[in-house]
Amino acid sequence: MEDNRDNGKKDHNGPILLLLLIPMLVFFVPLYNTVEPTLFGFPFFYWFQLGWIFVSMIVTAAVYFGTEPR
């Protein structure tokens, strides 16, 4: 909802928030429901999802620094 009584303390929204859609890739389950390629003995199903945690942390941190008022 648009804020009509903005007092200068609005949320710092913007296109950068769209980056937060990147973590949502995990909804495409068939993408990673495979054994190959394995990594350190981990089937893809497991290392992809574990690795995606770090991707989403980096994305969220990037959005944080991109939207925090200075």
Binding site: R5, F27, V29, P30, N33, T34, F42, I53, T60, V63
Partner: protein, 518 residues
């Protein structure tokens, strides 16, 4: 199993330590504990690091540490839903929950039901939100006791007759006492110790055990082929995706999550934690893999554990694994981590349920003119009653009931989503419509769970095709449709909408004054 004296000694020492910390916490970031927002929200003074430990200790519970690997041990790949579940939740928290923090700070709200009361001016909708929160929380506390019970039994503490529940009762008496005196400060302080212990335990396990087994490929080789991945069909995918979606939507509606969010000292703390909390998700993923390690070690074939597997089922997999691979002193340390990991969320959950009862039921319906001290005393007594109730649940009813109730809890709590989360963005939805939507969702969700014999994934028939999906998501869709359609109808009879919040409140960096209520 014989009594493991070394492990038990280490375990007891850590319990004594956290007991001292729990009591000492009353003086931490000092506040007047006769006020509810000081006792039940620690005055909203927690910074980024304490909030990280508090929410981590709160959301990733002892039961999680036992049940997720147990699911991996028994059912395989589907247990990994815990990972995407906690991936998708944090971007959502990042965007949405600073708004809740701000509006709560601006108006002195201490619960989600407080916000609903203020936003819609509807005490019955607020009551529905409060009751749902309390109902969903009670079995969750009971489950923490199961986690504690399993590790105590694994140390060979087998008391006979009336004494059988004595260790549980002692642990909960300790918990109840420091909770009563120190409020939310106690679990926050203990969470720091507990989380460090859990990290050490899990990192030790994922380094040492695969080495002993000759590498990770041997760990995964122990998993039966058909359980290593999800079945390759649409139904398995829709079940998996809706399970983690619905779990994620529910997670931050639980009262103990809201309490954790509102106890933080600024909206920036929440945003930072949305980026930092996934560290626990990684930990949880590793914990799930402990179930596979237990398979690789073959714990269920070891005769010494047969009786315990009979009693606790797959929930005994992780304790058996630790007993098998770790020296006794480290077993004690690891079990203490799990045991304390039961106390921290149980403490926060009972405080959160107590806040709801005291603020949204006692003050709203029973004693509207109560003084702050009466309000906080009611909360303290409620937190005691809630714990006694959870203890009774575990002592007198089969554990199966607690597990089924907790499943229902997740299905119930999601029905507060429209009122709370949509309410943070729009006042277009009507209070009465939301209340009817809530009722439809609660009834349909409970009904689907019952006819599905308490399995979370329901095989819904849509135009002749079966689409398996998490019941919470399906019943949420019903709730949403009813809320929107009825709101459209009710809004045509245009009348002034009650709403004490202003748009700028949702961005507020500071409140008007200490949380004394509406």
């Amino acid at each position: 199993m014989p009594l493991n004296i070394t492990a038990l000694t280490v375990f007891v020492l850590f319990f004594v330590l956290v007991t001292f910390v729990g009591f000492a916490a009353a003086n931490w970031k000092k506040g007047d504990l006769d006020k509810l927002h000081e006792w039940g929200l620690a005055g909203g003074k927690f910074g980024t690091i304490i909030t990280w430990f508090l929410l981590g200790g709160d959301l990733y519970t002892a039961y999680t540490f036992i049940a997720v690997p147990a699911l991996a041990f028994g059912a395989g790949a589907i247990a990994f839903f815990a990972v995407p579940y906690t991936i998708i939740i944090y971007p959502f928290v990042f965007v949405v929950f600073p708004r809740l923090w701000s509006v709560a700070r601006a108006h002195g709200y201490i619960t989600a039901a407080d916000f609903v009361r203020g936003r819609y001016g509807d005490r019955w909708l607020a009551l529905a939100v409060a009751l749902t929160g309390i109902l969903a929380t009670l079995p969750y506390i009971a489950l923490q006791l199961i986690g504690l019970e399993v590790v105590i039994a694994a140390m060979g503490v087998q008391l006979a007759g009336a004494l059988v529940y004595l260790p549980l009762i002692i642990s909960f008496a300790i918990l109840a006492t420091f909770d009563y005196f120190s409020g939310l400060r106690a679990p926050a302080a203990i969470a720091i110790i507990k989380d460090i212990m859990i990290y050490l335990t899990v990192f030790a396990a994922v380094i040492v055990i695969p080495l002993q087994l000759g590498g990770w490929s041997n760990v995964f080789a122990a998993v039966p082929r058909e359980k290593l991945l999800l079945p390759d069909n649409f139904g398995a995918y829709s079940g998996y995706a809706t399970l983690f979606l619905g779990s994620a939507m529910a997670l931050f509606l639980y009262p103990h999550s809201v309490t954790g969010v509102l106890s933080s000292s600024s909206r920036h703390v929440i945003r930072r934690n949305a980026a930092l909390l996934p560290a626990y998700s990684f930990l949880l993923g590793l914990i799930a893999l402990l179930g596979f390690m237990a398979l690789a070690v073959g714990v269920e074939r070891i005769p010494a554990y047969a009786a315990s597997f009979q009693q606790f089922g797959a929930n005994f997999a992780v304790p058996a694994l630790f007993l098998e691979v770790f020296p006794d002193w480290f077993v004690g340390f690891a079990f203490a981590a799990i045991g304390i990991g039961a106390l921290v969320p149980a403490a926060i959950m009972s405080i959160a349920a107590a806040n709801l009862f005291s603020r949204n039921i006692y003050k709203e319906f029973i004693n509207p003119n109560c003084r702050p001290m009466q309000e906080s005393r009611t909360a303290k007594l409620t937190s005691l009653a809630v714990k006694v109730g959870a203890l009774m649940f575990i002592i007198f009813l089969p554990h199966e009931y607690a597990i089924q109730m907790q499943l229902l809890g997740g299905i119930w709590i999601i029905h507060t989503f429209p009122a709370v989360i949509f309410g943070l963005y729009t006042r277009w939805l009507d209070g009465k419509a939301l209340l009817i939507g809530w009722a439809v969702g609660m009834i349909s969700g409970t009904w689907m769970a019952a006819i599905n014999v308490f399995r979370p994934i329901y095989p819904l028939e849509i135009f002749g095709t079966t689409v398996p999906g998490y019941i919470a998501v399906y019943s949420f869709i019903l709730n949403f449709v009813v809320s929107v359609v009825l709101s459209a109808v009710f809004n045509m009879a245009a009348k002034a909408r009650a709403d004490e919040t202003r748009p700028s409140d949702y961005y507020a960096l500071e409140g008007a004054g200490g949380g004394t209520g509406h």
